[in-house]
C-alpha cells in the first residue's frame, strides 16, 4: 500500500443519517475487533465490487466510504494489508490508543469520509 491507497470501509445502514451523512459509529472498531478496524485495500478492489463481496458474506452495508493511508498516518493510525481472511482485507490499527485518543481518531476519519462522500452505494 502507498500513502495514496484508498482504504474502503463498509458502512452499516444504521450509520447513515437520513440526509446521507456517514456517522462516526462507522469508524469505531467494535469491542470484539480489539482496536483493529476492518477495511478493504483499495489497490486490490474497487468500491462497488467490495460492496458486492461484503454482501455475499451475508453482512449488512449501505455503501462504501474511503480513507487514505496518508490520512490515517496523520493521526498515528498504522494501516496493515494483512490479507486475512481474504486477500483484499486490510486493517486500521487503533489498538495503541487510549479510549479518548481512539474517539478523537475515529471522529477525524468521519470528517474525511464525509468530505470525500460515498464511493459506492447500495
Amino acid at each position: 500500500m502507498t500513502p495514496e491507497t484508498m482504504l474502503l470501509r463498509q458502512i452499516h445502514p444504521m450509520y447513515f443519517s437520513k440526509d446521507g451523512e456517514i456517522l462516526r459509529g462507522a469508524f469505531k472498531p467494535t469491542n470484539s475487533d480489539n482496536g483493529f478496524l476492518s477495511v478493504y485495500n483499495g489497490d486490490m478492489i474497487e468500491p462497488a465490487p467490495a460492496v458486492h463481496h461484503y454482501r455475499e458474506q451475508g453482512r449488512k452495508t449501505g455503501g462504501v466510504a474511503g480513507i487514505t493511508v496518508e490520512e490515517c498516518s496523520r493521526h498515528q493510525l498504522p494501516c496493515i494489508d494483512d490479507g486475512v481472511p481474504f486477500p483484499e482485507h486490510a486493517t486500521i490499527d487503533f489498538s495503541k490508543k487510549s479510549p479518548s485518543e481512539m474517539k478523537k481518531a475515529y471522529k477525524e476519519l468521519t470528517i474525511y469520509a464525509n468530505n470525500r462522500g460515498l464511493l459506492a452505494q447500495v
Partner: protein, 374 residues
C-alpha cells in the same frame, strides 16, 4: 328520573397527567354503553332460557352519560340514568347492568392473569373491545374497578389485543398506529395509496379528500426522499404486523432527520443488529430521549441519531472540519460529549447529567454554534 355514579374508570399515562381527557378517548367511552347493554342482555337470556328477548320496556329510560373528569390522572365518571327511582334499587334491569359492568372488568382481569376471559363474557361479545380501548397508546391504561373491593383491572393495548384474539376465527384487530415512510403509490382511480415504511414493508390505505394533495406531492418527492408521518387506525394481523390503514387522522411531510421517526427505527433493533453484535436499546430510555430531544430541539439543528454497540445512542453534528457528539446512556440518563474542531485544534470532552434541563440547554447552544456542513 334518577342518576348515580355507575362506572368510574381511571386513565393512567402521560396524556392524562393534567386530568384532562383526549377526544379520541371519549369515543372509546361512547362504545361502552353498547358493550354494557349487550352483555346485560346476554346475561338476561342465560338466566331466562325460555325467553328469546327481554320484556318490553325492560331497559327503558336507562343510559350512560359522562358527568365529570376527576383528578388523579383522569378519573371519569359515567352516570347511569334510570327512569325508576333509586328508592327501588333492586329493579332487575339495574342489577343486570351492574353485573355486566363487573363481568367486563373481570374479563379484562382474567387475561391479565392469563385466564380465559370467556368465564365472564362469551367470545362473540369480546368483539366490543374493537371500539372499547382502541385509543389507548403504549404505557397507557384504563383502570376499571373490580367488584367488591379496591382492586382494579387494567385495559391496556396488550390486554385489549389478547381479548380480541381469544377467538381463533379472528385474523386481524385494529389499533391506533403511526407509520413513517415514503409515499410509493397513489391510485386515484381506486382511491388508495401505499407507503413504503422505514422498515421496508408496504402499507396501504384509502385516500381521504383532505390528504389527497399531500399524497400526490409526497409521491412526486419520492426520489428526494421526503418522508411522511401518518397517524390513524391500523389493521394488524395476529402476530402484530400492520397490514393496512383503516383510517387516517393525521398526515404530514416530515424532516428526513425527524426525531420520532429515527427513535422508531432505534426501537426496532434486535440484539445482534451490528453483524451479530450490538445490544437492543431500552424502550423506556428511548421514550425519555425522544421527549427530551423534541423539547430541546424546537429551534436548533436536529441531531443525527445512531445506536452504539452497547445499547446507547449517539447524537451527532458533522461539519467540514468539526464534529460534535453526545453519547447517551439511556439507563443512566447521562451523556459523554466530545467536540473536535480542526480549525482551532481543539478537542474537548466532558460529561452531562441529562436529567438536568441545563445540560440540554448547553447541548442546544453547542449545536447552534457548531458550523454544519450546510
Amino acid at each position: 328520573m334518577s342518576e348515580f355514579d355507575f362506572f368510574v374508570p381511571r386513565f393512567t399515562g402521560k396524556r392524562f397527567d393534567n386530568h384532562s381527557l383526549p377526544l379520541d378517548v371519549l369515543s372509546d367511552l361512547a362504545t361502552f354503553e353498547d358493550f354494557l347493554f349487550d352483555v346485560a342482555k346476554y346475561q338476561y337470556r342465560c338466566n331466562n332460557p325460555d325467553s328469546t328477548r327481554c320484556p318490553p320496556n325492560f331497559w327503558s329510560g336507562m343510559g350512560l352519560t359522562l358527568s365529570e373528569v376527576k383528578e388523579g390522572s383522569a378519573k371519569t365518571v359515567l352516570k347511569l340514568a334510570t327512569a325508576a327511582s333509586l328508592l327501588f334499587p333492586d329493579i332487575p334491569a339495574l342489577n343486570y347492568l351492574k353485573s355486566a359492568r363487573d363481568a367486563i372488568s373481570m374479563a379484562i382481569h382474567a387475561v391479565e392473569k392469563n385466564e380465559p376471559p370467556t368465564d365472564h363474557i362469551p367470545v362473540h361479545l369480546l368483539k366490543h373491545f374493537e371500539g372499547f380501548g382502541k385509543s389507548l397508546r403504549e404505557k397507557e391504561a384504563m383502570e376499571l374497578p373490580l367488584p367488591g373491593g379496591t382492586a382494579v383491572s387494567h385495559l391496556t393495548r396488550e390486554t385489549r389485543k389478547k381479548l380480541l384474539l381469544v377467538s381463533e376465527q379472528v385474523k386481524t384487530y385494529t389499533e391506533n398506529a403511526t407509520v413513517f415512510g415514503h409515499v410509493s403509490e397513489v391510485d386515484q382511480k381506486r382511491e388508495s395509496f401505499e407507503i413504503l415504511t422505514i422498515f421496508g414493508n408496504t402499507v396501504s390505505g384509502r385516500i381521504e379528500e383532505e390528504h389527497r394533495m399531500l399524497l400526490v406531492d409526497a409521491l412526486r418527492d419520492f426520489k428526494s426522499r421526503l418522508p411522511v408521518r401518518i397517524d390513524g387506525v391500523g389493521v394488524f394481523n395476529r402476530t402484530g404486523k400492520l397490514k393496512e390503514l383503516k383510517s387516517v387522522t393525521h398526515m404530514s411531510v416530515i424532516d428526513p432527520l425527524d426525531i420520532s421517526m429515527r427513535i422508531a427505527e432505534l426501537k426496532s433493533l434486535q440484539a445482534g443488529w451490528l453483524d451479530g453484535v450490538g445490544e437492543s436499546l431500552d424502550a423506556d430510555g428511548l421514550d425519555w430521549l425522544e421527549d427530551s430531544l423534541i423539547a430541546a430541539f424546537t429551534n436548533a439543528p436536529i441531531p443525527k441519531l445512531s445506536p452504539t454497540e452497547e445499547g446507547g445512542v449517539i447524537c451527532e453534528w458533522i461539519g467540514p472540519d468539526s464534529h460534535f457528539d453526545v453519547e447517551i446512556n439511556l439507563l443512566e440518563h447521562s451523556g459523554e460529549w466530545s467536540l473536535l474542531n480542526r480549525s482551532s485544534g481543539e478537542y474537548l470532552e466532558g460529561l452531562f447529567d441529562l436529567d438536568d434541563a441545563f445540560a440540554w440547554r448547553v447541548i442546544v447552544q453547542m449545536s447552534k454554534q457548531f458550523k454544519g456542513r450546510d
